[in-house]
């Protein structure tokens, strides 16, 4: 059963710096929603709040998973991941000295994921044949594109219902960006995920997004109900695409 996410009036910051200012957004069951905006506008902060890594000053974050609605604010990251929410973090955050397979297996630590470990590992190797070839190689010695595959695979091993992806294109060559975005779309279809993806690369993000929000200075500056609406927006064209 698909899951959804609802964020209401969220404020968050670091010390005196306010990074999010009254952000409200929603991701319906089975949707892929893009979170657009250039660096420093609060995308990563929002991801950190959803996962419990940063406690918001105000607002609510509600996840509905398997018919049960849960308030995420105040819970630890461990609890939130255990509910079925996985994050592919910016910069990938892999364990460089462990092998591909050890990294993937660590993804399946939570109890629900352990039950499906064989199937999910096969799924990962099926989706990323390169990882199967290199399963014994330390991740630190792999290319950026391959590491991004491991990061996606590790999140799949968590057996999530909601997948958060933070800046998947950072540090990748353009051709790999396109491929990574396609893979996210493919994983979403095959696993029936609900996806929230923060991305600076507008053109790539809207290839798989159903809708999107543009964050500017910690506020939702524009909300586009289709990729076309986003592309046509005056704001996006002017500030974001520099047209």
């Amino acid at each position: 059963m698909a899951a959804s996410l609802l964020i209401e009036d969220l404020d968050a910051g670091y010390g005196a710096v306010r990074a999010l200012d009254g952000v409200s957004l929603s991701v319906a069951a089975g949707e892929t929603v893009a979170l657009l905006g250039t660096n420093g506008n609060g995308k990563t902060t929002l991801m950190r709040c959803i996962l419990g890594l940063l406690r918001p000053a105000r607002g609510r974050i509600l996840a509905t998973i398997e018919g049960r609605q849960v308030e995420l604010v105040g819970r630890s990251p461990e609890e939130i991941v255990d509910l079925g929410i996985a994050l592919v973090p910016e910069g990938r955050r892999l364990f460089p000295r462990l092998s591909v397979e050890e990294n993937l297996l660590l993804g399946a630590y939570r109890r629900t994921a352990r039950a499906a470990i064989r199937r999910n590992l096969d799924f990962c190797y099926d989706a990323f044949p390169r990882l199967k070839e290199r399963r014994a190689q330390p991740v630190g010695s792999m290319s950026g594109g391959e590491q991004q595959m491991v990061a996606l695979g590790r999140a799949v091993m968590c057996a999530p219902k909601i997948l958060l992806v933070d800046e998947p294109s950072v540090g990748l060559a353009p051709i790999l960006v396109a491929r990574t975005i396609e893979k996210i779309g493919e994983l979403k279809e095959k696993l029936g995920l609900t996806v929230l993806m923060a991305e600076q690369n507008f053109h790539q993000a809207i290839r798989i997004a159903d809708r999107g929000y543009v964050l500017v200075h910690g506020q939702v500056a524009f909300q586009g109900d289709s990729p076309a609406a986003l592309g046509d927006s005056e704001l996006v064209r002017k500030f974001y695409l520099g047209l």
Partner: protein, 293 residues
Amino acid sequence: MDPGLALLLNGVVSGLLLGGLYAAAAAGLSVSFGMLDVVNIAHPAFMVLGALLVALLWSATGLDPLLLSLLLAPAFWALGAAIYVAYHHFFERRGDEAIQGLAFFFGVMFLIEVGLVLAVGPEQHFADAAYAGTTWRLGEIDLPLRMLVPAAVALAAIGALALFLRRTFTGRAIAAVAQDREALRLLAIDPVRIKRLAFGISIAMAALAGGALVVVQPVDAWSGHVFIGRVFAIVIMGGLASLGGCVLAALAFGVVENVTATFYGPSWSPAVAFGCLLLVLAIRPQGLFGRAA
């Protein structure tokens, strides 16, 4: 056999056996220092604590010292977990662990040593295993069971630990925790719980090493001092987080020390052994078996 060759062979074999004892002493540190980034300078003191407790229990019960150390291991695990909780609360949580954490473990070391002197006195204690007087002979080569049995038990324990680290979810999390602790939280793993558990394991290994030590030689409260430099050298030479590398480095260290002592006298052996450490680090900074990140 040529007497020189026999001397060399015996030097190598007894060096390997000494290396087995070093491996026992260093394996726990390979977990705490190598995998958890906790510079536990008191590790040899925990080994000595284990050794003296084994000696006391042995004189009370007459049970085999290695068996006694195995029975002590769960209590040492709990002790290690408790010490990690204190260390985390006062230092690591605040990011003060580099220097202040080191001072903390220095303090723990002195507390253990002074406590031992007050409790059991400054004299040497020993525990005799049933096999301690037996020596197997393979041609010209002596295999004293007093050395062989502790080495074999230590290697078996290290093998079991290596399997645990490789094959279980918790083991893999231990191997990962020093590399990126926040990333573990993204996988629903509590890094503090993992480090507590792993530090407990490292101290339980110190209890086993204590059992091995007291079978090999009489032990007093300060017997750990000669091990401090050696175990850190071995863990670094082995590539920090690699138990297999730690064992091979320990064996190499034992052989180099023993062969040097046999041919040039014992006063040269630490100099040559630590010279080898510097050489290894010059050629392979990641250690013999370290994976370059």
